[in-house]
Symmetry: C2
Subunit: 339 residues, 2 copies
Amino acid sequence: MGRRVTLAEVAARAGVSPITVSRALRRPDTVQPETRARIDAAVAALGYVPDPAARALATGRSDVIGVLIPSATNAVFTDVLSGLYEGIAESRFDVQYGITRYDPATEENLLGVFLRQRPAGLIVAGIDQTPAARRLLDRAACPVVQIMETGPDPVDMMVGFSHHDAAAEATRHLIARGYRRPGFLGARMDPRTRRRFAGFRAVAEAAGLYDPDRSETTETPSSVGRGGELLRALLARHPDTDAVFCNNDDLAMGALFEAMRLGIAVPGRLGICGFNDLEMMRAAEPPLTSVRTNRFEMGALAAKMIRARLEGRDPGPALVDLGAQVQARASTAGPAAGD
Amino acid sequence: MGRRVTLAEVAARAGVSPITVSRALRRPDTVQPETRARIDAAVAALGYVPDPAARALATGRSDVIGVLIPSATNAVFTDVLSGLYEGIAESRFDVQYGITRYDPATEENLLGVFLRQRPAGLIVAGIDQTPAARRLLDRAACPVVQIMETGPDPVDMMVGFSHHDAAAEATRHLIARGYRRPGFLGARMDPRTRRRFAGFRAVAEAAGLYDPDRSETTETPSSVGRGGELLRALLARHPDTDAVFCNNDDLAMGALFEAMRLGIAVPGRLGICGFNDLEMMRAAEPPLTSVRTNRFEMGALAAKMIRARLEGRDPGPALVDLGAQVQARASTAGPAAGD
DNA sequence: TCATCTAATGATAGCGCTGTCATCGTAGCG
DNA sequence: CGCTACGATGACAGCGCTATCATTAGATGA
């Protein structure tokens, strides 16, 4: 590690004043090329790295981009984080996470904590902030991006897609493939899950195929095992259900395994569709249909929009809908002929 | 958000000097109870929260615990992170991540970046740091915990388990169940993977069942799809392989699906064992045997050890082996009778 | 040639907090 | 009753950096 090297030491070595070194580092175009060269050499020789705390104190703002997500284990969010990382790579920015555990009050709290650090930017999941949190965000003195979802009345910028429409498209797909008694499997009924359910319901109703009793949900967290339980419960009540739209891929995978256990043919007697299109879906047997959500891109774009704003470049449109695409696979090939 | 409230304003309101407020906040026992009460009231009334940057600058150390992990998407690490979060909950500490992408040079770099921030503590994955990184860690002026693995010569503290022994136990399990031609499937051959392979090999050799050609590995990242590819390749060369020890659960899951595709009975004609025991393993059909690694506990304990050290409490033993337990399930029930 | 302007650099002060030492008052003791 | 010891509080300086304004030197034009 060695001792901390300060600006002053670099300045002494380069034969200039500290403030000039500071400038050379932050706005290289404002110092003469030869001066800059001497400074760069001194920086390299001494291995100087600015102290982020001192910078934050002096400027009144940090280079931390605060990120508020509901869960750190959910594969969906980890993909977003990867994108974020990609988006801030090679920049001066850092990412700091807060996990809300799907709890609005926690989100509000964490928002306060982040805001005190005068973050460079803020990224929050979803559009369902509490009124208080919303007020904090509205007044935030930094770029804010809402991700995962699109909706009316953005705080600032927004990158996501319509969960309602994505689910609707998946449901249309099931119907187009010939399924006539579709059900819904959902866990952890957060607002995004509810909107997916609404999309499912809207399309099913329009087709005259909606049965309010043909859905099985739970407030407990989602998991593969849960998917199996939900399917079993649904089939116990409605053995004639011929397809399930699952709120996410874990549930879909669990449903597939449960179907195997029950000796139910997929897709012949039961169609299965997931949501998010994690890698495993394609590799399953039969390969599982899912809805591709562009999570990595979402994170990367959110980071880039914030960077663009902070670096004075054009961030592009403030509201980006990345859409979602049904990836049709064998698990929804359609009911067997002798349906 | 509102304006930032400073120590001085709190002090003015409480009728004391700023330094007393500072003390009241950090070491409440050093100020008189009534003074403290007045200060607490002022803090609450004004909604004061200390500025972390100013504190870091003044003390020369931050409250950030730096965490270096290879991947943010791998479920294994996200579980560790959850544990970490749990471990620092309700404390003044924050966690900041660096992703090394399994690249020692990146790790070395990030280590430098973290160290400049004078972190409160450092958590690094594994024991395979470069010599330079090792030197940095040895000289770090903060508690350091190596996680994921145990080994000789810890930098400071260590929480993990022996990958070699865990794999050895899994292999013994396969043999005990009657499998006689076990193979190995591995992707992303990082040091931990190699040690697992070594454990597999040691036990297989001791039993006279090791065939150096009966393993299929790749440097590419692990995934469910990859597991299928590896199994297919292995079986193409050695159709008589009767069990596979997979380097992780994704590969095992992929192997299971591939076996289905090939019409190979699991566990009758092929036993499958994974590693890590992710939730999905139990829910699969057949349920998949795996090796439980205590990831959440690992993260939580690492954080607690650092906290204990920083808060002057006894951190307990410096080297904790959390072990790993084979979770025997149907996928390794043993070869079919007519083997 | 001289005033005027611009680009490059420097001096000063201060961000909000804490380490260090000084000060003050009072309890305890001979 | 005077002195020491100690607990409680305060004054001061400074952490490393940058915002702001001042200064300097050279370029420009009438």
